[in-house]
């Protein structure tokens, strides 16, 4: 692996409920170095946001959890972890599609889903441990649809194989992801925040275009203008008013 620390210590779990849960449990008992990766190609019970599950056939997809100790990051800046992880995953997707001359559009659907055109290809689940207002450790969970051809329940899921029509070497996809992840994490660590912020906005799904959204009052038209430091989605409304939304306050239509 051509990285300094991400993936240098790697733990392959044959089949597991959730790599994040496994990593968290392991960290309680064993000291894992920064950049340790716990991965599986058969994650049976991948977790999305509370109660949501990630649908995956055995030996087809990649699930990994990366252990970090971002103690330099204060709690109110934690959305940077979402940004850098979303960027790393989308960097890899963009590169793979470019390798095969596929002109698909890779984007980040706020806050942290990776989309190709209008379908989800990867998901992220970040779990931190806080002590006072600093982050002690972070477990960065990433799930990518790789060699799975069909998806039942999920509305609008897509995989690398359906886009490129080629079977991928999962180990290779893992190694390349570790490289992109390390590059973005080092950007964050060296405080190149403007670069991260700009790249995230450049990739943001629907940025600058009018579309339909839903809030508690009903459906409305809006145009995404940006994302606040804390991660709120900022929209311009037809009236010219600017409004920001947290996760549960808005739905994409």
């Amino acid at each position: 692996m051509k990285t300094l620390f991400v993936g240098q210590n790697s733990i392959h779990v044959e089949s597991v409920g959730s790599t994040n849960s496994y990593a968290t449990e392991m960290m309680r008992q064993i000291e894992l170095s920064e950049g340790s990766v716990i991965y599986s190609f058969s994650q049976l019970n991948g977790r999305g946001q509370r109660g949501n599950f990630w649908e995956s056939e055995p030996n087809k997809n990649m699930a990994l959890s990366i252990v970090l100790y971002p103690r330099f990051l204060s709690v109110d800046k934690q959305f940077l972890l979402t940004k850098m992880t979303s960027l790393a995953v989308s960097d890899l997707m963009a590169e793979i599609l470019q390798d095969y001359n596929k002109s698909a559009n890779v984007s980040i659907k706020w806050p942290n889903d990776i989309y190709v055109n209008d379908k989800k290809i990867a998901g992220i689940l970040i779990e931190n441990t806080l002590k006072e207002t600093s982050i002690q450790s972070a477990v960065i969970g990433i799930g990518i649809n790789v060699n799975q051809k069909e998806f039942n329940s999920t509305k609008g899921a897509v995989s690398l194989i359906t886009l490129v029509e080629l079977e991928f070497d999962l180990q290779n996809v893992l190694e390349r992801l570790c490289e992109f992840f390390e590059a973005r994490y080092l950007q964050l660590k060296s405080n190149k925040l403007e670069r991260i912020d700009k790249a995230y906005l450049d990739r943001l799904y629907r940025i600058g275009t009018w579309a339909d959204y839903r809030d508690e009052q009903g459906v409305f038209q809006g145009r995404i203008t940006g994302v606040s430091t804390k991660g709120k989605l900022q929209l311009e409304l037809k009236s010219g008013e600017l409004k920001s939304f947290s996760l549960k306050e808005i739905g994409f239509i």
């Binding site: 210590n9 779990v13 064993i30 946001q49 509370r50 709690v75 806050p111 006072e132």
Partner: protein
């Protein structure tokens, strides 16, 4: 990797119920396989844990105490420590809807023990206790929004 670390790893894998784990670092590669059926043995071995659960029954008795102490608190609230939220977000008392609460009234907490989760923009933050004591009151309902510095728990340090 030190020998005791490897021992810890083996113990962890055995307990976790996963059939195969492969760890690779710059210098070593370790593969731990748990043969089929072994899982049951592990369960049998871990059965001595059960009596200790029974032994911990006095905890139930201790639950009675906070009630008494709560009365005292009317005149002397200052002896309790207030655990406050380090951030804006949604307060959760368990790791997922089907899991038990991290802590309940009457539970003893120690420094470093996870007491709740606060989620903001899909980032899940496990909040560790910084104090040692007994939970006297949970001040916020599960799955409700919290503000920065909002009191979450009352802890009796005595």
């Amino acid at each position: 990797m030190k020998l005791n670390e490897i021992q810890d790893l083996i113990k962890f894998v055995a307990k976790s119920g996963v059939s195969e784990v492969e760890l690779e670092t710059k210098d070593v590669k370790i593969v731990i396989k748990t043969p089929a059926g072994r899982k049951e043995q592990v369960f049998v071995q871990s059965s001595p844990v059960a009596p200790s659960v029974i032994q911990s029954a006095p905890v139930a008795l201790q639950v009675a105490n906070p009630v008494v102490e709560a009365k005292v608190a009317v005149s002397d609230d200052a002896k309790y420590i207030t655990v406050k939220s380090p951030m804006i977000g949604t307060f959760y008392r368990s790791s997922s809807p089907d899991k038990p609460s991290f802590v309940n009234v009457g539970d003893e907490v120690v420094n470093g023990k996870v007491i709740c989760i606060i989620e903001a923009m899909k980032l899940f933050n496990e909040i560790e206790s910084e104090v040692k004591g007994k939970i006297v009151k949970v001040l916020v309902d599960d799955a409700t929004p919290v503000e920065y510095d909002q009191p979450l728990f009352l802890v009796d340090p005595s």
